[in-house]
Amino acid sequence: MIAAPATAPSVPPAAAERPHSPGRDAWLRLRRNRLAVVSGIFLLALAFTCIVVPPFLGQGYADQNLSLGATSPSAAHWFGTDELGRDQFARVLYGGRISLMVGFVASLVALSIGVTYGAVAGYVGGKLDALLMRVVDILYALPFTIFVILIMVFLKEPMNDLDAWLRRFDFLKNLQGIGKIVGLFAAIGAVEWLTMARIVRGQVLTVKKMEYIEAARTLGYSHARIIFRHIIPNVLGPVIVFTTLTIPAVMMLESFLSFLGLGVDAPLSSWGTLIKDGADKMEDFPWLLIFPGGLFATTLLALNLLGDGLRDALDVRAAKD
């Protein structure tokens, strides 16, 4: 087997000489990166707006005004309205909730699978490590997008049923389409964990060989203590960086699924479905594309810039490229 491809890290020896409280240094370095700071602030503001503001708008994402139809942005409707006369501002904010949620949760799914898998492989080592990593190598060779589509086609019905079942409970009543979102998490998370597993394993291997870990072992510290006190803090950096960079990838994947009609269900909408609908109408009702598309692109950009900034700050090389 050949050394890891681009997406896997080859952690430089320099990482081993990192000072003991890397958090503070990293924070200082990050603060000096203006683009990353601006991105971070933008993302926080966006998440806050999408989560907190919608209930106070006085307009739901599904409230129609058929006689109004599609209108361009105005004082009453900042982002205009779509053909059903629905307020596009509300739809974009609610859509942002879903897109951000899909991005974060699916990335977390990928993160948990990847970290566990990689950590086990790296820490246990030996034959098990070889086997586990062989599996990852093999899975790497599979046509991911194809599999996500297959999984979504396959999960669609069970998720529709799950959805119907969940909505029987009163407190979940308004979460129509939740089943489909769960399906998205599963499908995307299931294919995005591979790189994470490689990164974590590589990091664990490096840390494991360090002298102070050896020392801790000879002193008879428990595995748990070694893992939590020494290994996890060292692995954290790359994991944070890579997660930040996974979120935009996941959001992009979600938008592709929307293009194929495998995204979230009406009347719910994600940025992906809004952009897909808007792209079809960009000549007649450009605002239906510009606002969700602009926010989507800006968010992806911010996530990428923040990821880059974090990588530089945490001195993680080749987390994504």
């Binding site: 599904a62 409230d63 129609q64 058929l66 006689s67 139809g69 053909e83 059903l84 006369g85 086609v153 669609k156 019905e157 529709n160 119907a164 909505r167 129509q176 009609g261 269900d265 009406a266 009347p267 609908d277 079809d280 109408k281 000549e283 007649d284 009702f285």
Partner: protein, 540 residues
């Protein structure tokens, strides 16, 4: 870090590979923008399954097959009436049960063979053969013994009502009068196929034979198959052996397999297509406001409706169904969402010459609320959540969202949407696994019978659980009605029963909305969106 080798070989290798692949595309037919041969470029929706008239089931296939084959009769220049096809004249017995067709003696296949009544007989036998598994065999079941033959109860084809006293005479004996028989004969299931060609590539009753590939193809229509580029286009060219009433004026037709309506619209605008299948919803207004607009809005014999599952409470209660039907503002849906002049449907069977509805819905919110309260759900209280099932498609989604909103605000009914992908949706519909399901029906032939036939108890296309013996009895008398007015009166009554019982909720009557280049001459379209290709012409 030192690397000894240049990276340069990689792009070079890639270029080399591209160069190797390029000859493949160079030979593909270039799209000719300059006038020359008159080729109509027709946007034809999805890729056709096959071009065997006894195998296919779709509309896209119908377009191509009706250029490649000709049945006993065909469309006239206006496309509304009937013109002689392979049969030059025909007569009916006084009891309307025996039809005799006299075939044109000079009728030819595209390979020069003469086309006789025996060819028709062998074709009918082929489509009815059980082992072929033809999904449209039932279209021939009007003829005595045809159904039994398909089910294997008769194995001797001579016992059926198809016969050929001589080479140029074909006789059909029917089980019951079929007033719309001539219209039915225009469907490809009745078209002749060239059995000697089919048998060259395997047994006549085997699916998936190669006789429909361009090199092997033999037909009898105004055009013959020239090329078939899968997922791109099928081209046909004028047949030298065709001896119909008119000689085709076009040199050929290119049927483009375009499965994205947005791409299709862009192709039309870029001058790559003369005719499209459809127009994206959002573009209709823009086209409408153009001077000399290429937008065509033509009547289309079909109804867009929602099926109720009448076996599931609370939808088994006719009052609930009626309340839901009355609470919909069809005008608003048609005007604001569909925007192409579709007609709100206040009864089920679409408008047709001679047919008038016996009863119509009068949408009124107050009455709807009263009915819902009478059914035990005042202001929707106590009513469980109702699910609208629709297949994944923007237009269906938007209409369903509007109706969801109308039921919610008007009646207080809690509605959820369920979007299923086509095959799953069909499965749910056939197995009655839904509350309310979006549906549509386009007439098989231009006659109200094709619509009212749907609601017969246990019918294969009923899919609502609706069963009404009185309805079934009345429907059974329709084809035996003494004359046309009497027959239409029966349909009027049948339609009224549906409007009263509402196993379905009619929403609007379809319109065909598409783009047509002003270069296309003699364009016509009947209410089923069919036409004879031989009449069309192109201006230079």
């Amino acid at each position: 870090m030192r690397a000894r080798l240049l990276v340069a070989p990689i792009p070079a290798l890639l270029l080399l590979g591209a160069a190797l692949l390029a000859p493949g595309c160079a030979k593909a037919p270039a799209l000719d923008a300059t006038p020359g041969p008159k080729i109509l470029r027709f946007g034809n929706g999805t890729e056709p399954q096959d071009l065997d008239p006894h195998i296919v089931t779709g509309v896209t296939e119908h377009h191509i097959i009706s250029a490649l084959f000709e049945g006993l009769v065909t469309y006239d220049a206006s496309s509304e009436g009937t013109a002689p096809g392979v049969a030059e004249r025909w007569e009916t017995s006084p009891d309307k049960l025996t039809w005799t067709f006299h075939l044109r003696p000079d009728a030819r296949w595209s390979n020069g063979d003469s086309l006789t009544a025996r060819d028709f007989l062998r074709s009918f036998q082929r489509i009815l053969t059980p082992s072929l598994g033809s999904e449209y065999a039932y279209k021939l079941h009007h003829v005595v013994g045809a159904e039994e033959f398909t089910k294997g109860k008769i194995t001797d084809f001579a016992q059926t009502g198809f016969s050929a006293p001589d080479d140029h005479t074909l006789v059909l004996r029917l089980k019951h009068p079929v007033p719309y028989l001539l219209e039915a004969l225009k469907h490809y299931s009745w078209f002749p196929v060239h059995l000697p060609t089919i048998e060259k590539f395997g047994p006549a009753d085997r699916r998936g034979s190669r006789w429909t590939l361009p090199a092997n193809f033999v037909g009898n229509g105004p055009f013959v198959l020239k090329t078939w580029l899968s997922n791109q286009m099928i081209t046909v060219e004028r047949s030298p052996t065709y001896r119909g009433a008119v000689t085709p004026r076009l040199d050929g037709i290119a049927f483009y397999a375009v499965d994205s309506e947005d791409a299709e619209e862009r192709m039309f605008r870029g001058g790559q297509l003369h005719v499209t299948q459809t127009v994206p919803l959002g573009r209709i207004d823009a086209y409408r406001s153009q001077p000399a607009s290429p937008l065509v809005i033509a009547p289309y014999y079909g109804t867009y409706f929602y099926r109720f599952n009448t076996t599931r409470p609370p939808l088994d209660d006719a009052r609930v169904r009626r309340a839901l039907a009355l609470a919909i503002d069809r005008e608003a849906i048609v005007k604001n969402i569909l925007r192409a002049g579709q007609e709100p449907a206040l009864h089920f069977t679409p408008p047709y010459a001679g047919f008038t509805p016996g009863e119509v819905l009068r949408p009124e919110l107050a009455e709807a609320r009263r009915l819902l309260a009478a059914a035990g759900y005042p202001e929707g209280r106590g009513l469980r959540r109702i699910e609208i099932l629709h297949n994944t498609m923007e237009a269906h989604k938007v209409v369903a969202e509007a109706i969801q909103q109308m039921w919610k605000t008007g009646l207080g009914v809690d509605v959820a949407l369920r979007n299923e992908e086509w095959k799953v949706y069909l499965d749910s519909q056939h197995s009655l696994a839904f509350d309310v399901a979006r549906s549509g029906w386009i007439g098989d032939y231009p006659d109200p019978h094709t619509f009212l036939d749907l609601w017969v108890s246990g019918g294969g296309n009923n899919n609502t659980g609706y069963a009404n013996p009185a309805y079934d009895r009345l429907l059974a008398t329709a084809l035996n009605a003494p004359d046309e007015p009497a027959r239409m009166a029966i349909y009027r009554e049948l339609d009224a029963i549906i409007t009263r019982d509402l196993p379905v909720l009619p929403l609007y009557f379809y319109k065909r909305v598409y783009l047509l280049s002003p270069k296309v001459r003699n364009w016509s379209s009947n209410i089923l969106d069919n036409r004879g290709w031989q009449y069309l012409d192109l201006a230079n």
